[in-house]
Amino acid sequence: MSAETVPRLAVRTVTKSFGAVAAVRGVSLELRAGEVHALVGENGAGKSTVVAMLAGVHRPDSGTIELDGRPLRLDTPAAALAAGIAVIYQEPTLFPDLTVAENVVMGRQPTRSFGRVDRAAMNALAADLFDRLGVAIDPDRPARGLSIADQQIVEIAKALSLDARVIVMDEPTAALSPVEVRRLFAVARTLRDGGAALLFISHRFEEITALCQRVTVLRDGALVSSDPIGELTVDEMVRRMVGRPLSALFPKREVPTGDVLLSVEGLGRRGLFSGVSFEVRAGEIVALAGLVGAGRSEVVRAVFGVDPRDSGVVRVGGRELRAGDPRAAMAAGVALVPEDRRQQGLVLEASVARNATATRWRSLARFGLLLGGTERRAAREWTARLRTKYADLDDPVARLSGGNQQKVVLAKWLSTAPRVLIVDEPTRGIDVATKAEVHRLMSDLAADGVAVLMVSSELPEVLGMADRVLVMREGRLVAEIPRDRADEESVMRAATGQEVAA
């Protein structure tokens, strides 16, 4: 493979600025046929901008993109698709109201006489693609309601139907369960062996080493290095991404535990989970582990009262919380940092200051009016404590990178001085340096006597941070594993239902 001299796709010293901010500066990249190429870097390092340029969404200010040695203009997404470049995003971009088959061939539907869309041929085409991918998805069902993993398969089928020769996967595994990741990798290898060039973006090093042949590191919009994967250790990769040696990723502190602050008894909601009981003490970090869809997020949402519950009692500091009343939960000192920060944690169009203080408008307001001064002071204090990077407090929060957005969500909740902090996937999709900071913050909070309940799908995080691991499977709490006995195997066995005894 490496004997081939002309790369399938070459990005040559591209630069892209947004206003005064240089997102990408002189980055070069070569993708070869039959190779999976990893692109790593912290959030804000410029990965997404590179992807956007390959997808035809952004045009480079300078530099060229070459396909098989010929320069290529990618002015529109249509041009990128026509050139055989397909992009699979972390959040798949499907049409929920249309059928799966229509999603696959939108704009390129097979037609019969008079240009009419040939539905039978369209469904057959999609069914054939799913066969090749080895998955069973009904081409005639609406895309609405497909799991993220299946949505990604539909996106890959789309790429196949284009005969895409370059496939870019932008953090495709962030929301997948281990089984789904394995399926995705099998598909990716099939594509690679079929002669496609793949660009794979992920924050998980074990995935990169398992799948990729080369790795390119970006930092602050510039190219750091591009090497065969075998010549780079994970530690070295991290060092190049961060630009400095990283302090411990899991700064766990030993803290004496105090009183029970959160107690949940027999919590249930029809069709989702039932009989969930557990306690979290002051100074303790308890992880709620399990596969995606096991009902963990649903449990914490019901505990906080965003979702209703059918049965069970939730007590905070001994006092019972009313069901379905998040205001009461907040008043009792509970904070929930939700899983999906873009949809549930932030008002993306609103300013950093507004978002960071959203939980405290009542106490910050004077005579019912929210005046700029107090709001800005409070926002500045908390964003500084979390080392949030932003240009101006008045900027819309959508302009921040993923990690900094997460910090704003955290700032919003930490400023309420919670006694019980519930975090749902606190480090999903954020870079390794921010991850370490979030973990340090959780340790500090626990040391200050906060009870922390953490939902996480990342095993290293669960094992590194938790005093106790609660494992859920199919809506039930199936295991409670103390820190000294928790390891990858015991948690996965419980989560997948292969355990004999905990």
Partner: protein
């Protein structure tokens, strides 16, 4: 390429088929519901007063519905793309007055030409709407609210308080308003043709499917290479053109045209479209549903006097229908979501 072996693993995929077909049934039931409501209304009203189904009464109903149906089809094309066209009432007025003036000045003008002129005037108005939405990057709600007043203003300026009466219009044109082919009024035939052509185009042509795609997920439509800007222009032009056509039908049917013709029609059209099951947030719904919605609203309008119910209740009933339509949408969505949630939970 061979199928990778590991991929046969995930279980629990077989329910896909049944879930999908159940969704399809629910959606079909959605349009069926309006048809049933219409049937019930007709049966009850006829039971109270058998003359409700007399030839004269049915023809009046059909003529009235025809205009609203044409407007509803145009509105559907726009709403499917997650936009809205509030200017249709004013476009109807402008087109009706333009056609009326033309016929007044040149009484020899053939009816077909009058129809074409009205459609063209409307199409131009629609093109302006589309261009403002596309290039001004302003929400359609705001743009068409603005042009609602602008087009009406143009109409008033032009008319200058003048009214075109039936005796100033050529008899051939007025005759067209009530003429029939094999007992079916021409107006109704035109409306039917519009429904069928639009329904066919939306269902069976790439460009039609792309309109649904744009409404279902605008960002994804851009990424999928759909020429979003061009399709948007076409959608608004179609809506304007059909409003223009409706203007000519209006002039032919009523014979009297002034600058205020069609005032307030935009809300009735949006109501018909929503009641007909077209999702306000785009991506789903059919022109057939919208047409039945328009028919239902017209029928309510003429059934109330027959049932001796105060006209004053009409607004309340239309409002209740809109809420029921939206409620049904939400209920269907919630049921689908709940079932998928249960399925996901079992799958783990």
């Amino acid at each position: 390429m061979t199928a990778p072996q590991e991929t046969a693993e995930p279980a629990g995929r077989t329910p896909d088929k049944t879930a999908a077909s159940r969704v399809a049934v629910l959606l079909r039931a959605r349009e069926l519901g309006i048809v049933l409501a219409l049937a019930a209304l007709v049966v009850v009203t006829t039971a109270v007063n058998p003359r409700f189904l007399s030839a004269q009464s049915v023809r009046d109903l059909a003529l009235g519905a025809a205009i609203l149906v044409v407007l509803a089809v145009g509105q559907t094309v726009v709403v499917i793309t997650r936009n809205i066209d509030l200017s249709v009432g004013s476009v109807l007025g402008l087109s009706a007055f333009a056609t009326g003036s033309l016929l007044q000045a040149a009484p020899g003008t053939p009816v077909v030409l009058a129809l074409l002129v009205g459609t063209l005037v409307g199409g131009l108005c629609g093109l302006v709407n589309g261009a403002l939405v596309r290039f001004g990057n302003v929400p359609a709600l705001v743009v068409t609210l603005g042009t609602l007043y602008v087009y009406r203003g143009v109409c008033f300026f032009w008319a200058g308080g003048q009214q075109i009466n039936a005796d100033e219009l050529p008899p051939a044109f007025l005759g067209f308003g009530t003429a029939t082919l094999l007992g079916v009024p021409w107006l109704l035939l035109i409306a039917l043709a519009v429904v069928l052509v639009a329904g066919f185009a939306l269902r069976s042509y790439r460009s039609g499917r792309e309109l649904y795609a744009m409404g279902s997920n605008p960002r994804a439509a851009v990424l999928a290479g759909v020429p979003v800007g061009r399709r948007l222009l076409v959608a608004f032009t179609v809506s304007g053109a059909l409003a223009g056509l409706a203007g000519v039908l209006f002039a032919a049917r009523f014979g009297t045209v002034d600058a205020a013709s069609g005032t307030g029609d935009e809300l009735e059209v949006v109501a018909a479209v929503v009641v007909g099951g077209v999702a306000v947030f785009g991506g789903s719904g059919t022109v057939y549903g919208a047409a039945v919605g328009a028919l239902l609203l017209t029928t309510i309008g003429s059934a109330l006097p027959v049932l001796a119910i105060d006209q004053f209740w009409q607004g309340a009933i239309v409002g209740a229908l809109i809420l029921a339509a939206i409620g049904t949408d939400r209920a269907v969505a919630a049921r689908v979501a709940a079932r998928l949630r249960r399925r996901e939970a079992h799958r783990g």
